[in-house]
């Protein structure tokens, strides 16, 4: 009887334990947020002043997609790019783990990168006046590009951008060069002339090269921007937060030490207050911890400092379940037999555990804002806090009800 119960108790959690270890072996690491691992958090505001109301959402999504492409091409691992619209402000939030030099990232993301090929229209001088030339944009733009790569100019050895047009773009380019043989063909990027080569002959095959006076970094950046496409609207940097990796590491170390001390004090307190029952609660708590960390790795949850605080708070709430049951048990023990007293305590305490935790889950829901309601916050750290707290509550309900209860049953039977 005893062994059977013990097996039932230990088996499912034995499996859980293995999942925990398994995930470590399979290099499922705990994902650390920007405040722990270091990195930067950038918020850009899109200038929607020229966009009609009904097109704003499409424009903002376009901005996000282009930024996402640029960041990915830049080679940042696991970036997140989100949009947020609230109170007439349309923003794109970019998080770059491990990037602490934001200057380059900001100029890469923030440039509109609107590429246009211009034609020079010469008006003959009237009555001896000097001939004037005006620029006229052609229908050939960055949108007609298939790809852009960094090359080195065969004559000057300087970095340049080689452009490969799409088929349509190639046709357009062919026509434009045909019209403009012997004339300059200015290339404009974000309202500035990058280069204006003179067309020698009609160019077929849809290939071109821009050789401005770029440094290698500038050329690389421009190639990324051209490949990702232009931003549909200009953006401005409104918020920037960068945490160096050293500060993050210090925070982790301190929090782990603090957490260990806090947890050991709590474990000790439970034993002092409830004796053998306290030991059972402590075992339940350790199982709670193992399951929680395994889930953090499997889901995965990005762990931030507020997230750690959320976890600690859920430890408190997990123990509260046990305390409620034990206090109840003390009362019921006086009225009836050991075993029924225990079962009744679980039943009665469950009502208040359920109602109280549901109330906390309501707050978590508001804070985590899973439906992305724009009138609530969408900020990462607060979400992280709410998600770890909610997860902790759900797991604690499970361990409190199943693990502690079964352990107690075994314990009570042994006593007989």
């Amino acid at each position: 009887m005893l062994t059977a119960a013990a097996t039932i108790v230990s088996l499912p959690y034995g499996v859980k334990f293995k999942i925990g270890d398994f995930s470590v072996d399979k290099k499922f690491e705990l994902k650390e947020g920007l405040d722990l691992a270091g990195g930067s958090h950038l918020v850009f505001e899109a200038d929607m002043s020229k966009i009609p109301e009904d097109k704003k959402k499409t424009a903002l999504d376009g901005v996000r997609n282009v930024i996402e492409k640029r960041v990915n091409l830049f080679g940042v691992s696991e970036p997140t790019v989100q949009t947020s619209s609230f109170g007439g402000h349309d923003r794109v939030i970019v998080e770059l783990p491990g990037v602490s030099d934001t200057k380059q990232a900001v100029s890469l993301i923030g440039k509109t990168a609107q590429l246009v090929f211009m034609e020079v229209i010469e008006a003959p001088g009237v009555d001896g006046a000097t001939p004037s030339a005006t620029l006229k944009s052609t229908d050939l733009t960055g949108a007609d590009l298939q790809s852009a790569t960094v090359v080195f100019d065969s004559q000057t050895g300087k970095p340049a951008i080689s452009l490969q047009f799409t088929k349509e773009g190639g046709d357009k380019f062919e026509k434009i060069t045909e019209r403009n043989v012997g004339k300059p063909l200015p290339v404009i990027l974000d309202n500035q002339i990058v280069t204006q080569p003179t067309v020698q002959a009609k160019i077929t095959g849809g290939q071109a090269q821009i050789s401005g006076s770029f440094t290698i970094d500038e050329a690389k950046q421009l190639a990324i921007q051209l490949n990702a496409g232009a931003l549909p609207v200009p953006v401005n940097l409104v918020e920037e937060r960068t945490v160096g990796a050293t500060l993050g590491a210090a925070s982790i170390k301190q929090s782990i030490v603090a957490g260990t001390i806090g947890v050991s004090m709590v474990l000790l307190f439970m034993i002092l207050a409830y004796g053998k029952l306290g030991i059972i609660a402590d075992i339940g708590l350790l199982i709670f911890g193992v399951i929680t960390i395994a889930l953090y790795k499997l889901i995965p949850i990005t762990l931030t400092l507020p997230g750690i605080a959320g976890f600690m708070l859920s430890v408190g709430m997990a123990l509260d379940g046990n305390i409620l049951i034990f206090e109840r048990f003390k009362e019921e023990k006086l009225k009836r037999e050991y075993l029924p007293a225990m079962e009744i305590s679980f039943g009665r305490a469950w009502n208040s555990i359920r109602d109280a935790n549901a109330a906390t889950l309501i707050t978590c829901f508001v804070l985590a804002n899973p439906l992305d309601w724009t009138f609530l916050n969408t900020s990462g750290p607060i979400r992280g806090f709410a998600i770890t707290l909610a997860l902790g509550i759900v797991i604690s309900l499970f361990t409190g009800i199943f693990v502690s209860r079964n352990l107690l049953r075994v314990f009570v039977k042994q006593k007989k």
Binding site: T242, T246, S251, S255, A309, A356, A359, T360
Partner: protein
């Protein structure tokens, strides 16, 4: 059984004075808002002698900021943190915070009212929550601590913690009502007596955790943890000594009104 409810005017007086003190402080000295609300720049540098220094600036244009950063670099400072928030972000955050508090409070009010089949319970639980947030805001104002995004998170957590405790006491009242009739005054006394040890023990557990984080945890979350600590203490107090007395007083007032009619 201890006649807790006999002294309920005393509890309300204590809470009232703390809150009034807090409100007075908020009016007189105001709250210190962090750059999350006001916009501006926070820089943290580590210098070769191992010293860490935090610098705060009001919003400025990019070139002025760049100059400051260059200056620190010349002093061999390693930039470990850089936060720059535009002035437009703040007002938005205030509104979102208010909405979040309203959403959480009404959700909890409805849930409690539904579970305990009475709006009295819901309203007094929310009033106890309000009590805890006022106490926390008051303490912040008195100590001049900086109100930032983490403070908002902490405040919302306190709300749920406060109601967590209140529900435990209410649950006892609900259960006792089945066996001991409908006199809220006696039920409240019995419920508070029976849940007191649990409330104390549970608060100890949370307070242990928070004190450990407060003393050893990183500088960046120090005030966040302190807020949670204040809120936990206030939340543990407010369940038996604010929520329940309001419930009892409400019930008596209603009875008095009824008998006068």
């Amino acid at each position: 059984m201890i006649d807790w409810m006999r002294y309920r005017w005393l509890y309300l007086l204590i809470s009232g004075s703390v809150i009034i003190l807090g409100i007075f402080s908020v009016i007189k000295w105001g709250l210190t808002f962090g750059i999350d609300f006001t916009g501006g720049t926070v820089l943290e540098y580590r210098f070769p002698d191992g010293r860490n220094q935090v610098y705060k600036y009001a919003p400025m244009d990019a070139s002025a900021l760049e100059k400051i950063r260059e200056d620190f670099k010349k002093q061999n400072g390693e930039e470990v943190r850089f936060e720059n928030v535009g002035p437009t972000v703040g007002p938005e955050l205030v509104r979102k915070t208010l909405y979040a508090m309203l959403a959480a409070a009404s959700g909890i009010l409805l849930w409690v009212a539904m579970q305990f089949k009475s709006f009295k319970f819901g309203v007094s639980a929310v009033l106890a929550m309000l009590h805890d947030s006022l106490v926390t805001i008051g303490v912040y104002s008195i100590f001049g601590a900086e109100v930032d995004l983490l403070f908002v998170t902490a405040l919302l957590t306190i709300l749920s913690f406060s109601v967590h405790d209140t529900i435990v006491v209410y649950d006892r009242i609900r259960e006792l009502r089945k066996g001991f009739g409908d006199n809220i005054y006696d039920l409240a006394n019995k419920a508070v007596t029976e849940t007191m040890v649990r409330s104390l023990n549970n608060s100890f557990v949370v307070i242990f955790m928070m004190v450990a984080l407060l003393l050893i945890g990183g500088e960046t979350i120090r005030w966040f943890v302190a807020t949670l600590l204040i809120g936990t203490i206030s939340g543990a107090y407010s369940s038996p000594f604010v929520a329940v007395p309001i419930l009892v007083t409400w019930d008596e007032l209603r009875k008095r009104v009824k008998s006068e009619n």
